[in-house]
Symmetry: C2
Subunit: 394 residues, 2 copies
């Protein structure tokens, strides 16, 4: 038995493929080419850090999905996918980063061999790993095919999680609690940020008992003071300082499943405006959780939250969250629904979101967030058990 095997049983993959094929039929697609690493893993179990070269999964309306990629990574596919060896295809190394050959020429050959070169082929036009060049080459190689934009077609099938998946996310949440507590415990004036992040990684990767830690799809975000007015700065070697707030945006990861959470710590005495904002934020989160129930819409969560903020005189624009689950870098969001006023996705039990009601103000940032599960009835369930407040160390 290989040490790496597909994370789920056959029935779970069967369910996913059936669901995806229903969506393909509705979209009039005969053959789907999936480049999103998360979608590949969701359909086949493939797991490797090889998405920096062209690879993907071909899913037709019958038969097993086919994993296709660089030859040396096809060996990894043999060890992580649930399919048999005849569903794994590798291309030669001289296609890699060549200026005279492109891997999509090889893929086109496979599609031809399947007799699907005149098919309606769905491709993920808006994906990190489907470049403008890849699309240009593939369409040129298959002049008789009809290409359709299948961006997020698989991602939408991932929105409602199975019980098995929720089990994985709950495990990730145990790790999240550990990394957040590590960050809150260790933070103090003089501590270099890179040393803090080292402890965060160590806590996350050692995991909790037999819940071993995988790499999160986003590195720890831990900005302080003015850097915390920007959402996505990474750390450096500067020490933490008294009089500054630092937010931690962190996630545990278990077999590629995430449960992100943010908490903020102030070293010293927070200014009154930050304490006021904390109250508004906490009330807003309560209102959001309450609105996050099956039958309501994603916009209802956003509007409930923003409504409370407005009552407190705080104007906030932008998204307040996104679905999460299985993911690979550079993002742990699923890129389908958004928790924002213009999004009307109807909430169903089994959906999991990172409810992200962060505040980025002129001179500081305050992030307090929850990973939430939409339940059969009642308000959403926060999956991590960490006190919800602005933490303060005098």
């Amino acid at each position: 038995m290989p040490a790496n095997t597909a994370a789920f049983g056959t029935s779970e993959y069967d369910r996913r493929i059936a669901k995806t094929r229903t969506a393909m039929a509705q979209a009039g697609i005969d053959l789907l080419f999936v480049t999103d690493p998360s979608n590949q893993a969701w359909l086949t179990g493939y797991d490797g850090w090889s998405f920096y070269v062209h690879q993907g999964v071909l899913l037709a309306m019958d038969g097993d999905p086919i994993w296709w990629g660089r030859h040396m990574d096809s060996l990894g596919a043999l060890r992580t996918c649930w399919m048999e060896a005849d569903a794994i295809h590798g291309y030669a190394d001289h296609y890699v980063q060549s200026t005279v050959r492109h891997p999509m020429q090889d893929l086109a050959g496979h599609i031809q061999a399947l007799g699907l070169h005149k098919a309606r082929i769905g491709v993920e036009m808006e994906n990190y790993y489907y470049s403008a060049k890849a699309h240009a080459v593939l369409t040129a190689e298959l002049p008789d095919a009809h290409f359709a934009d299948a961006t997020a077609l698989v991602n939408w099938q991932r929105l409602v999680k199975s019980d098995d998946e929720i089990g994985f996310i709950r495990k990730a949440a145990r790790i999240t609690e550990k990394v957040i507590n590590t960050a809150l415990d260790r933070a103090e004036p003089g501590l270099r940020k890179n040393d803090l992040v080292a402890d965060i990684y160590h806590a996350g990767l050692t995991g909790v008992d037999d819940i071993w830690g995988d790499y999160p799809a986003i590195v720890p975000l831990t900005p302080s003071g003015l850097d915390a007015t920007a959402a996505h700065l990474t750390w450096n070697g500067a020490p933490m300082r008294k009089g500054e707030a630092t937010f931690f945006e962190l996630s545990g990861c278990y077999r590629r499943y995430h449960a992100p959470l943010c908490r903020t710590i102030f070293l010293g005495t927070p200014p009154q405006e930050m304490l006021d904002a904390e109250q508004a934020q906490l009330e807003g989160i309560e209102a959001g959780l309450n609105a996050a129930r099956a039958g309501n819409r994603t916009c209802d969560i956003a509007n409930a939250f923003v409504g409370v903020l407005e009552e407190h005189g705080i104007h906030r624009e932008g998204r307040c969250g996104y679905p999460i689950g299985l993911s690979y870098p550079p993002d742990w969001g699923e890129r389908t629904a958004s928790i924002r006023s213009e999004d009307e996705t109807v909430l169903e039990p089994g959906m999991v979101f990172h409810f992200m009601p962060a505040l980025w103000m002129d001179s500081w940032g305050l992030e307090t967030t929850e990973t939430i599960l939409i339940t059969d009835s009642g308000a959403a369930e926060p999956l991590c058990n960490i006190e919800r407040r602005l933490f303060v160390k005098e």
Copy 2:
């Protein structure tokens, strides 16, 4: 002063921009749109984990480069780029992952405002962060522009490093030595791989003295036994076992600069065929280093290495290395020259490669590699000081 500032002085950025403009002129490009995060950072200093949304740098033939991205990340650009605020543009949050709007509509507006909507615009067609959809929208929005494929145009300007950059890579190499030694010291039967990786991360991020550790663009690769026949599997919670080889592909990172290195450890007594392969590999590396001198070509390195292997009866295909330096996930390679028999790039002093003469065999893998600097005269200089051999623990 912000805690994050551009990593280099003005003259270094001036040099880079002048070099890039020369290449633009040669390619007949008036305006370059750069999406590769490494290229953005190289030109402007921008540093943030925000490449999962559309962003980029516009470089015309005069004036400062313009950083363009999501509004919340423009605040990070203000804190990390060397340009003034008027060269930083943010787009509204409702463009993010929207099905009805695309950020490239906003970018097209900026290009129009610059009066460059009829220009010859270079775009990086083959890049993770320039999707097929982005290209489709941008070309549709600017029907009078002429688009040219500028893939790797900036990357090629990065191939010969400045003294400042080599200084950064040397610092990264100090961290690399620490993480490789940590892995070799800690490896033993029964140790869970995730616990080993936790120690590797901790060593890398705490860094060496004032050389603080940044996140490497690839996570630690540490596969054992049969998993090591595949190049890019990540870890899991299984314990290390006696009788197996494990390879470590690791890099320290200092302010986004890398110095990757691989070493292999066998727990127990290695089979004779592995020891034979080790001898072939070490001789081949010596031959490769000797061929890696200014005036020779990249293929000379590959041919010298493969030639020695053939003498030992080992047939090896595939690339044996690539240039490295500044990088962001998912790859620490620069994606220009390759060390392989069909690549004839002429070596110049200041080029830095990950010389990657790894062997992946039927039932095990043996990775022993070096980050090397092409010098003014003589063989290449390995930048890490780690004994070059198969490590064995009885």
